[in-house]
Each structure stands twice: as C-alpha cells, then as structure tokens.
C-alpha cells in the first residue's frame, strides 16, 4: 500500500531516522508547521488543504509506492 508520513516540523529529524531504521530511507515525508495540537478543526482542515498536493505527490512517487 502506498504510504506517506505527515509530521510537524518538530519531528523532522526523528522521522528521517525512523524511516532509515525501518529500511526506507527515501520514504516520503510531508512536514507541516508545529504545533497542531492547539489548532481548531477548521485550522486543521486548512493545513490539510495546504498539504494535500505534497501528500498526493508522496503517495504517487516511486518511493511512496515502494513502501507497499
């Protein structure tokens, strides 16, 4: 199954290292601004809208598909 990871900027390095540990160093990661825990539902939808193209790109990229 194609996969992409969405994280906030505080976890950028952690996501890189975790992907490497799982043997997927090229795994696509979409980074959004930290924090999100305090955002409203509407704000989260806005962030999702802003990120959707990057997520689609990740899911359809060679590396995203390779995860399956």
């Amino acid at each position: 199954m194609p996969a992409v990871t969405v994280i906030t900027s505080a976890f950028t390095r952690a996501a890189e290292l975790r992907a490497k540990a799982l043997g997927l160093p090229e795994h696509p990661v979409v980074v959004i601004n930290h924090p999100i825990a305090s955002k409203t539902g509407e704000q989260i939808k806005g962030l999702a809208q802003d990120s959707i193209q990057s997520i689609i790109d990740g899911l359809t990229s060679t590396n995203g598909r390779r995860n399956g």
Binding site: A10, F11, R13, A14, L17, R18, A21, L22, A37, S38, K39
Partner: protein
C-alpha cells in the same frame, strides 16, 4: 525456569579506548553513549561477569527496541548494565525490565518520541527486592540506593543506546523529568498492610516481578492533619484532580497512573477498612473532573476516551481511568505524612515480567 531466546544476535563491536578513566568517559560521552553521568567502562571481563549472572546466553535476542529498532541482545543489555554501575546480581532484574518495556502495549517507541516527557517507572515486587537491597523505604525516589539507581539507569541507557532515546535523535520531550535518568524502587513489604503488588497483578506470591509504567513525573502530596484513612483518601483525590493531567482525555488507551502510598497513610487507610481493591475502586469512583473543566483544554482535541463521553453535559464527571485495575497501587517510602502519584503518559499500558 529455563528460557530460550532466538540465538541470532550479532556480537557487539569491540572498541579500543586508551587513557585515564576520565578520558574513557569523555570518549563515551562524545560518542553519545551516556546520560552525562560517568560510566563504568564496559570491558569484556566485566560484561562477561554480568552475563554470567543471568540465565541467558550472549547472543540471545530479547527483542527489537523502537523507535530506532536496535536489536537488544543479552550481551548489549549487559554492556549497558555495566556502564550503569550494576553489580552482576542485579542483571536478572535489568533483563526483566527490558523485556517488560519490549511488550508491545508498553509502546516504547512513542514513549521516546512524545513531547509529553514519558519515562518508565520501574517497580519491583517480591522477595528479590530484599535479597538485592532494592530500596522501598526512606527517600524511596531519592539518591543513595545503588540497586535502585543502577537498575533504572541500565534500562534508560539501553533505551538510549539501542532505542535511540537521545535528544539529538528521537527524544522529543518538552521537559522530561529525572525518571529519564533512572526511576526504580521496590514495594515496602514490611510496611505494606495488603497483599504484595505482584499478587494484586495476578502473579503467584512466591515469584518476584518487575512492573513498568510510563509516567510524566512525580507529584507528592502531604496529609499531616487528617489522621483517618478517609481523610488521606480525600486529599489524594484533590491532588489527582488538578488541571493539565493528560489522562482525563486518554482513558481509552488504558494507561496506568502509579499511586504510591507512604506507609503511614497506607496503614491508616487499611485501618479504616479499605482493601487494596477498595482503594483502587475509591480512586476510580472519586478521581474525576467535571466535563466543563476538561473539554476544550489540555489535549482535548486529540482525546481518546469512551464514545459515550462525547456529548455529556458540563457536570458529567470524567474519570481519570475507566477501570480500577488500571491503577497501580504501591506502598513505599519511609516515616512521614506523605504519598505520591505518577501521572501516566497517554498511549501506553503497563507491563510486568517475572524476574527469572
């Protein structure tokens, strides 16, 4: 009991470091292998001696430790135990603690990567605590108790060196707390008016166990005026119902707060007629906050609680846990009118292993 593990572990690499003990420590620190405190250099003879105190062979694999998925061999556990200052007799406890954090529901990976500052609280129950001098008395969470200090530290160094729990890599706590160095203690068997913790958890009386719970810190409360167990329980409730406690929106994950009663408080509560089970039931029934104070605060946006809580009125009383058995109740400490509780981190469940 004989135990077999997959014998597939790779031998740890050998490094040659020359110089004074201070220079060796500098090297280990520069490599990121320590918590900042000095270590005992894990020479081959010391590591061998450590492994010989446990029932398992060097290449035995205890598991893979997230988030960075290092393979925890018995040898690598022994290296971290030597570095932490453990004497070999402690090694079976270290192995049991590592096996406990490797149980999937403990969620060792997320405990490292959360901003919430979770660290394992390691509780030893049973006769081995007395045999090894694992302290459960005066200043139980304090310094000066070698077994407590080094067993907890061995676990943390293992999480650092095999799981990637460093702030340069996967450790993301906003604050964290000193449990990220070490937090290990025993139940005070002499002062405990009830059955031991491990019996409460369903284990036979004649075994010793290690229980781990991922917690966000320690909160101590005093009750020096009330002299009845009921008065102590009421003060405990007010201590555990403060704002900002994440558990009030994460009941569905099944995390366990750890409640540690000082001996004086425990004996008064027992004298008031409460069994161990009754105390947990009392906490479950009374440690609750009004919905109006829980919603739209704390981690409310990412809540994970029973579906029936949604839509409740502001005066609905939200429990900290939805099952009394989620509460880990321990009697430990010395003289005095104080008790403590460790707020649970959110996405974790307790784990227990028998010490082999």
């Amino acid at each position: 009991m004989a135990e077999t593990l997959p014998e597939t572990g790779q031998a740890a690499s050998r490094v040659k470091v020359s110089g004074s003990i201070a220079q060796v420590n500098d090297h280990f620190y520069q490599q990121g292998w320590t918590d900042g405190l000095p270590i005992i250099p894990p020479t081959e003879d010391l590591v061998l001696e450590m492994m010989e105190a446990g029932p398992l062979s060097a290449k035995g694999v205890l598991g893979v430790l997230p988030p960075l998925n290092g393979t925890v061999t018995v040898e690598k556990a022994a290296i971290n135990a030597v570095m932490a200052g453990c004497i070999p007799d402690y090694f079976p406890v270290v192995l049991a603690a590592i096996k406990a954090i490797l149980q999937p529901q403990f969620n060792a990976g997320s405990i490292t990567t959360t901003t919430g500052g979770a660290a394992p609280v390691v509780i030893v129950s049973g006769s081995i605590a007395t045999t090894l001098g694992i302290h459960g008395g005066t200043a139980v969470f304090g310094s000066g108790h070698r077994a407590n200090a080094t067993i907890g530290r061995a676990l943390r160094l293992t999480m650092r060196n095999l799981g990637g729990a460093t702030s340069e890599a996967m450790e993301k706590s906003t604050h964290a707390w000193p449990g990220k160095y070490t937090m290990c203690f025993a139940e005070n068997a002499e002062a405990n008016p009830w059955e031991p913790l491990h019996v409460d958890l369903g284990f036979p009386e004649n075994v010793s166990t290690v229980t781990v719970a991922a917690c966000r810190g320690v909160h101590t409360f005093v009750e020096a005026t009330q002299e009845t167990g009921q008065g102590v329980l009421e003060t405990m409730v007010s201590s555990m119902t403060a704002g900002g406690v994440s558990g009030y929106v994460f009941q569905a994950t099944g995390a366990s707060p750890v409640v540690v009663l000082g001996p004086e408080h425990a004996q008064e509560i027992a004298a008031a007629g409460y069994s161990r089970r009754d105390v947990k039931e009392y906490i479950y029934q009374n440690v609750r906050r009004p919905m109006g104070e829980v919603k739209d605060r704390g981690h409310y946006g990412s809540r994970s609680w029973p579906a029936e809580f949604d839509g409740q009125d502001d005066d609905f009383m939200v429990p900290l846990v939805t099952d009394p058995d989620r509460i880990i109740l321990v009697v430990a400490g010395g003289d005095g009118r104080h008790s403590s509780w460790f707020p649970a981190w959110s996405a974790t469940q307790q784990a227990t292993e028998i010490i082999g």
